[in-house]
Symmetry: C2
Subunit: 158 residues, 2 copies
């Protein structure tokens, strides 16, 4: 079980169609490929795990700069993690955990937006629910992971 | 069929539990009530439609100020719409449409984050998919509605 950075090409985008959270991001990548805006094999924000030659788990991981940081104290570069998903037949085998551990290995804070049903999984992975702030969080259920020395940003009165 | 601004109180929060997208936002409101941080009957960002005395549809609607506007040209105050949801037995009866029309009646641009399955509904309501920008949109599938005279914000190179 090994985490790989996925290349953006037609094969990868075809594999992405099996995942429920196929969305505007993938459609936009497909267009960019077709219009030669990005190169085949260009690096992507996606990381995944193959079982044989089949992609069975993936996540998106993207570095946000400190100037956008509304979650951590002190403000700093952090990773936004989304579209963590394991195909149904491969769930409960540690693929999700492996991907999250990979994300944590960078040693910087991580923020994700959880589905309520997956909250238990995230807590097991050491993530914590932040204090909800409507102006910042809107429809999100933000969960964060703090490396040592980092804490939650204090809320300011709106 | 009439849209009402929902009061935040224990009764409303109890009704919210029937909706799938019950999340951190509702839990935080419940805590605020319990700790007397907010008053019973305080106005909320939630609007809904009752059938008899049962809440059967709801949405959250929140005004964002122009300084946060990354979607519209010219930059301006706009509404963020989320948690639009109709209870299963009441779907396909126009409740969702009624709520969205209510949001549009303010005459300002609206931004929402769609689930891919609901894209057809939003397009029928006059919403358009924006050009995906990873740095801004991350895991979202943003759809927007432009009142007359407003257009999509041009992308700047990252």
């Amino acid at each position: 079980m090994q985490v790989e950075r996925l290349k953006i090409n037609y094969k990868t985008l075809e594999e992405f169609k099996k995942f429920k959270e196929y969305g505007v991001q993938e459609l936009s990548m497909l267009e960019d490929l077709q219009e030669n805006i990005i190169e085949d094999n260009c690096d992507s924000p996606f990381y995944g795990i193959y079982y044989g030659d089949k992609l069975v788990a993936r996540m998106s991981l993207y570095e946000r700069s400190a100037k956008y940081d509304l979650y951590f104290d002190p403000p700093q570069n952090y990773l936004e993690l989304w579209k963590l998903e394991v195909l149904p037949d491969y769930q409960f085998k540690g693929y999700g955990k492996k991907l999250v551990e990979f994300a944590k290995s960078f040693g910087v804070p991580i923020k994700t937006n959880s589905r309520m049903k997956s909250k238990e999984f995230w807590e097991k992975m050491g993530f914590q629910t932040v204090t909800y702030d409507m102006d910042r969080d809107l429809g999100q259920n933000p969960l964060v992971w703090y490396p040592e020395g980092v804490k939650e940003k204090k809320q300011t009165a709106n």
